[in-house]
Every structure is written in C-alpha cells, then in structure tokens.
Symmetry: C2
Subunit: 479 residues, 2 copies
C-alpha cells in the first residue's frame, strides 16, 4: 500500500497546477521521455501504441474514401520551399537547415520538412498530365520538424508525427468538397473514437494556413477551458498549382490548372486526449483507441485457481477482440490499481477466490470508478457494453465542460470578464476586419478559434468597432 500511496502523491492535482499536472501525467504514465535535444521527445511504447490505434482508425477511413499513402523526401531544397510566397513566409522562420552532407558543404541548403506541400507539388507536376490522372488523393504518415522556441510534450514538439493529406482535383468545387469532407472525417474520429466533442468551423484569414485560400478546423475544449485545434483541412485554390506549374489536359483538350487541398492531424491530439479526459489519478483513455482496454488484476493470486481463472477471462476477452492485459507480477493489487489508473486503462477487472466461488468478477470503470459485478457467463457482452459506457461517459463529461464554458457576449468588456472568470469559448459577432480581431487579442487576451459552421445571431454589430456584424466568431485561448 505504501507504493500505491506514493504513486498517487506523485501527481500534482490539476486544480493546484494544471501545467504541472499535465507534465506529471505524460511522464508518470510513461508516454514521453525527453531527449537531449530540446523539443525532440521520445514517444514511449504506450504513447506510440495509442498513436498506432488512432492511425489505424484514420488510415482505414482515408483508404475507404480512395486515398493512397506515399512517402515523400524528408529534405526540401530552399528554392523549392520558396516557390509559393505566402507559404515560405509562414514556414521559413521555423525550419531546420541541413548545410553539410558528410564533410561536404551543400551547394543549396535543404530544410527538414515542416510540411510537404512543396514536394507534393513538385511530384504532381511530374506525374499529372491528363484528366485521367485526376483526382490524386494522396496521404503521408511521417514526422515533420518545426523549430519552435517554446516546446511541450505532444502540444508543441519540434518534431512531431502526423499525417498530411494532399489532393489534386480538376475543379475547385471538387477540391472544396474534399476539404470539407476531410474535416468531417476528423470530427468523426474525435467524437466517435476519442470521445472529444468538437466545434467545426472556418479559420479567419489571420489564422489560416500559410498559402491556403481557406482553412477549416475542429476545435476542442480542454479541462482548463483552453482550446486545442485538433485537426485542420485547407483549400488552396490553384495558387500552389500555378506556382509549381501543375497543369492537365482536360476532356475538352484544353490545358487547365488543377485545384488542391491539404489536411492534417498530429500527435498533438494525444495532448488533447490527456487534457480532455485525464483526472487527478492520471490518464483516462477513450476505450476505442486505448492500447489496453481491460486490465485484469488477480486478488490473492497465490491462492489456488486465481491466476488460472484470471487467465481464462483474459483469453475469452482476447478472443472477443478486446485488447486485454493481465498483470500477474509480484506487486500488490493496490500498486497495480494505482499503476493502471495512472495509465488510464478504461476498465479494470478484479478477480479473487470469493469472486470465483460466486462465478463472477468485479469490473471498475476508470472514468467514474463505479464498480459492478459481472457473472462469468455474461463476460464478453458486459465488458463490451461497459467499454461503450465509458466512451459515452467520457464524451458526455467533455460535452458538459464544453457547453457549460461556452458563452455569448455583446461587448468587449463582457468578453474580458468571461476570460477572467475561468475562461472558455466566447461567441460574439464580428465585422470581419483584421483590426478588430487583433483588438480582441490585445484587450481580452483571446484569438479567434473559428467562424463556426453553426452560426447564431447574437447582436447586430461587432462588439469591437460597432460596425455591422458579418459573422459569429468563437474566441478563446489556444494551446
């Protein structure tokens, strides 16, 4: 029991210090180790397994929609990065430059890719000639590098893992449709797999991707009422295609310029999972992507039949397609409870001599610590039902947090007040001017999260300048 206590004590409570709580969770749950280069983190097996599960869900969705995976070079020549002006302006300040190959100085600097629009464009220019070659629906799973000043596990890595979709279409309509379709895929993943409710919307011009005509986003609310941008999808028009001289001969035999999109989700979303579902006992993982869905802890495991029965349960659950682990190490049950609570395993099954006598085991939900007894003959169905209940419980809790901390305001003063009283998402009308957007930052400390799809009429005028309002914007403080 000493070690159980020790373990729980090791986490700072989130009420006391949210930032420290977060750091404690990522290290104590064995998600992250620090390397000797600032901002380059090691994804330990538990974090990587979580990412693999998210990957496999997304990869299947992409492929079902006809996307194909490719591998593009990790290095991009400076001249290639510079071809699209807005793009290079956005990324050049934060790329890492390779200047030597072996002992030889390179004639042209190469950057470690911060994103791959430029190399995809170069490739598309090579391989796309005719309408028969379109659409190109490509995706890449890789890591990218951005030389950020401030870094934090998952939220801001200098190197992070992600997927970047890059598609090329004959018409702008098709490309816009693709941009919005992929945002829906992201919303589906977030809500139905990660139990993270999202707000869908469009970024303002100030917040859109460097080189994009428009950027769509899903925004999630964390425990501390800050926003996390969990996935973005960009429509490029034909800007990149023109800069890279991509053309195709259409059915009518004329030469045309195609239209383009890109979209990405990164390991950042793991930071979102932690700050959406975690609690003062540690991580809480959404069951549908959890590396271990059920942990089995035998009680009084030295007694006859306990381990055998625990293993029988493990086997049955495994055969039912559930990711299950059994811990028969010599640590105490209390130590094990704390350990797997820290790791956020959605469901714990305890089984001891008395349970066996009664033909049952005990199941404890990680999200609310509710205990229930499961008769052996209902094992698989009950566990599946309970995993769904944990998913639904997590989603409902997160939705409540989102709803209760989303406010409307009609004046700048109101916005400031809301942000001082614990913060959250604030909906206001907006005239559409950059100056007003900047004043929201200056006066209230918030940035525009998005212009949500679901528009409401809150007032007639922009709370900043008093001019007629064009759109409703959601404001917040973002990670």
């Amino acid at each position: 029991m000493a070690s159980e206590k020790k373990m729980v004590e090791q986490i700072t409570s989130m009420e006391q210090d949210f930032t420290q709580w977060y750091t404690d969770v990522v290290t104590k749950a064995e998600l992250i180790d620090y390397s000797s280069v600032k901002g380059l983190f090691i994804l330990r097996p538990y974090a990587y397994a979580l990412w693999e599960n998210i990957q496999s869900v997304m990869d299947k969705m992409f492929k079902d929609l006809g996307h194909e995976n490719v591998a593009m070079p990790v290095l991009i020549p400076e001249s290639l990065l510079q071809k699209e002006k807005d793009h290079v302006e956005g990324f050049a300040p934060e790329v890492a430059w390779v200047t030597y190959g072996g002992s030889e100085k390179l004639t042209e600097r190469l950057c470690v890719r911060p994103t791959s629009e430029t190399v995809f464009c170069e490739h598309y220019a090579n391989i796309v000639h005719s309408w028969r070659d379109l659409p190109k629906l490509y995706n890449q799973w890789c890591s990218v590098l951005r030389w950020e000043k401030t870094t934090r596990p998952f939220l801001r890595h200098r190197e992070f893992l992600w997927q970047e979709g890059h598609t090329l279409h004959a018409t702008s309509e098709e490309a816009i449709e693709e941009t919005k379709r992929m945002l829906e895929v992201y919303a589906d993943v977030a809500e139905n797999w990660l139990a993270m409710p999202v707000v869908r919307g469009q970024k303002t011009d100030k917040e859109k991707f460097a080189g994009a005509e428009s950027t769509y986003t899903i925004e999630c609310m964390m425990h501390d009422h800050k926003a996390l941008q969990a996935g973005t999808s960009h429509y490029f028009g034909d800007g990149f295609a023109k800069a890279f001289d991509i053309t195709f001969t259409d059915k009518d035999n004329t030469l045309k310029t195609p239209f383009q999109t890109s979209w990405g989700v990164s390991t950042r979303i793991i930071g979102g999972i932690i700050m959406t579902h975690g609690d003062n006992r540690g991580l809480v993982l959404p069951p549908r992507v959890a590396p271990i869905q059920v942990i089995i802890v035998p009680i009084a495991q030295h007694k006859a039949g306990v381990i055998e029965n625990a293993e029988k349960i493990a086997k049955r659950l495994k055969e039912a397609g559930i990711r299950v682990k059994i811990d028969i190490s010599d640590q105490s049950p209390g130590w094990k409870f704390a350990e797997y609570e820290m790791k956020g395993v959605p469901l714990r099954i305890e089984i001891g001599p008395r349970d066996i006598e009664n033909g049952q085991c005990v199941a404890v939900r990680r999200d609310n610590l509710e205990k229930s007894e499961i008769p052996f003959d209902e094992l698989e169905d009950s566990v599946k039902r309970m995993l769904d209940e944990v998913h639904n419980g997590l989603f409902a809790k997160a939705k409540k947090n989102l709803d209760e901390n989303t406010f409307t305001a009609t004046s700048m003063q109101e916005v400031s007040q809301i942000m001082q009283n614990g913060g959250g998402f604030v909906k206001t009308m907006w005239c559409g001017d950059l100056e007003c957007e900047l004043k929201f930052k200056e006066e209230c400390g918030v940035t525009s999260r998005c212009i949500p799809y679901q528009q409401e009429h809150i007032s007639d005028t922009c709370p900043c300048c008093g001019k007629p309002a064009k759109k409703m914007v959601i404001w917040g403080v973002a990670y």
Copy 2:
C-alpha cells in the same frame, strides 16, 4: 494494341542491359519518382502499398515476440553520435548535418539519424534501473538518412524507410539468442512471404556493423547473380551500454551492465523483390505481399452482363480476403494486360461473354503466363490455390537460380574464373585473416557475403594463403 506494344517496347530487356531494365521497371511500374534532391526518392502509392504489406507482416511477427514500437527523434547531437568510437567512425562520413534552426546557428550540430543506436542508448540509460525493467524489446519504423555518393532506387537511397529493432537484455546469452531469433524472423519473411530464398550466415569482422561484436545476415541472389543483403541482425555485447553508462540492479542487488542487439530491414528489400522475380514484361510481385493480388479484366465489356459478372467475381474474391482490383476503364484489354503485367500483379482474371455462357472465367498466372479455366463455383478456392502456386513457382525459380549459380572453389584462380563466367556465389575455405579477405576483393573482385550457418568442408587450406582453413565463406559481388 498500339499502346500495348508501345508499353512492352518501353522496357529494356534484362539480357541487353540489366541496370537499365531495373530503372525501367521502377519507373514504368510507377514505384518511384525522382525528387529534385539526388538520392531522395518518392515512393509512389504502389511501392508504398507493397511496403505497407511487408511492414504489416513483420510488425505482427515482432509484436507476437513481445516487441513494442516507439518513436525516437530524427536528429542526433554530434556529441551523442561520438560516444561509441567504432560507431561514429562508421557513420560520421555519411551523415547530413543540421546547423541552423530558423535563422539561428545551432551551438551543436545535429545529424539527421543514419541509425538510432545512440538515441536508444540515451533513452535506455534514462529508463532502465532494475532487472524488472529488462528485457527492453523496442522497434521503430522510420526513415534514416545516409549521404551516399552513388544512389539507385531502393538499393541505395540517401533517405530510406526501414525498421530498426533495439533490444536490451540482462545477459549476453539472452542478447545473442535475440540476435539470432530476429535473423530467423527475417529469413521467414523473405522465404515465406517474399518468395526469396536466403543464405543465413555471419558477417566477417570486416563486413560487420560499425560498433557490433557480430553481425548476422540473410543474403539473396539476384537475376544477375549478384548478392543482396536483405536483412541484418547485430549483437553488441555490452560495448554500447558501457559507452552510454546503462546499468541495472540485478536480483542479487549488484549493479550490472546489460547486453544489446539491433536489427533492421529496409525498403532495399523491394529492390531485391524486383531483381529476384521481375522479367522482361516488368515487375513480378510475390502474391502474399502484392498490393493487388488479382486483376480482373472484362473482355468485350460493352456487352450485356460482362461488367456485372466481373464485379460479382471481384466482390466474391474481396469477401474471401483477397486483394482484388477490377479495371473497367475505357482502355483496351490488350492495354490492360500489358499494364498489369508491368505492375507484376500475380494473377489476371479475364471474363467475357463466352466465359459467362460457360459459367467460368480464365485465369492467367503472371509468373509463367499459364492460362487455366476456373468454374465460377470453384472461384475462391481456385484463386487461393493459384496464388500459392505463384508463390511456390517464384520461390522455386529463385532457388534454382541460387543453386545453379553457387559454386565451390579451392583456388583463387577458380574463383576468378567463376566470376568471369557470369558470376554467382562462390564457397571457399578461409583462414580467417583480413589480408586474405582483402585479396579476394583485389584479385577476384568479390567480397565476403557471409560465413554461412551451414558449413561444408571444401578443402583443408585457405585458397589465398595456404594456411589451415577455419571456416567456409561465401563470396560474391554485392549490391
């Protein structure tokens, strides 16, 4: 028919120019595109899908043996790379150096990883403390960079995809066992999934990995009788652990140094697949990893019922777990035949009005172009059987090539003669001295491929120096 002819004409025959044949295949089968940086190649969807299939086979084998995946940083500080002396000597000349982050010059150069022993060691030193923490069985799927002078698609990329296993064990026995176990996994993948017969053996000291105590290898023979090293597994002893100060407290409460292995297979193996199975019509893919296992080509597809029946077949095969594609584009059947032969699809199914009348379709094997009729009601079983037959046929053909071009020799003159007469693998005895090994290169143009597990007694003495022989070595020219 014009385009069919054109397509076939586009490939140089391998008898005429093997190197050009290879380049033709990788480009015409749409495996590779060149980027604007020499040696950085683009893996197009068809090549990447092949790699994904190989990955998924290997990843499952690794996980079944208890290995876990992790993600390590792409950049390694110069000081970290230098910690193990043999290792840095081997790799420093061919690494790419990052010297700038944004506009700031870095205080220490960082190399783009050429391999990750050093970062794994740094991490192990952080997280391994007790015997309870061992073994660590980690693997990473990633890309690595080696600044080679001469580059070729798949065979020698400056950046290539691979997996690198890195394991840490309490005893040398365990580590050696792991090293050999993983070589067997590689041999299993090569022979039973890629239809590539292998020679298993140990590398000489000259040919072993930089920093390893011993390196084990699987060597395959290509069409041109050259060798391709298809996978290697290294035993490090405690050299790296000592250099990186990795220690653990053992059960007896004493501080010990653990023992280490690493092992890797890369996209290079795709080059091996091409040069083992390909022919003058293009690629020939081993069925168990082929992205498309069966291509269905409707004949006279404008006639009533043809496409419907072709789609019915596709649906049945898909439901039977077979990777099937149906091509109903407006290209001619002849064009389609040539296209999918070029892409090496193991089995083609043709279905036209007369076949439908007869309740059958026609199947054509890619490996030997043998035609057979398949009654509709035997479809799934027949296709599965034929895919196995293609696998076995490919393996047998490659084994025949290996066997017929493996020779024994007792003198240097004999070795030279064999290499002049078309080359191959040459088995000779060897005294174990580096000088003799170097003379084989100098006088006969061969390097030692391995000291095979399966030793034979060919003569009593080393053919080079005449001293007593210690081992039998296989010599050859390697990619």
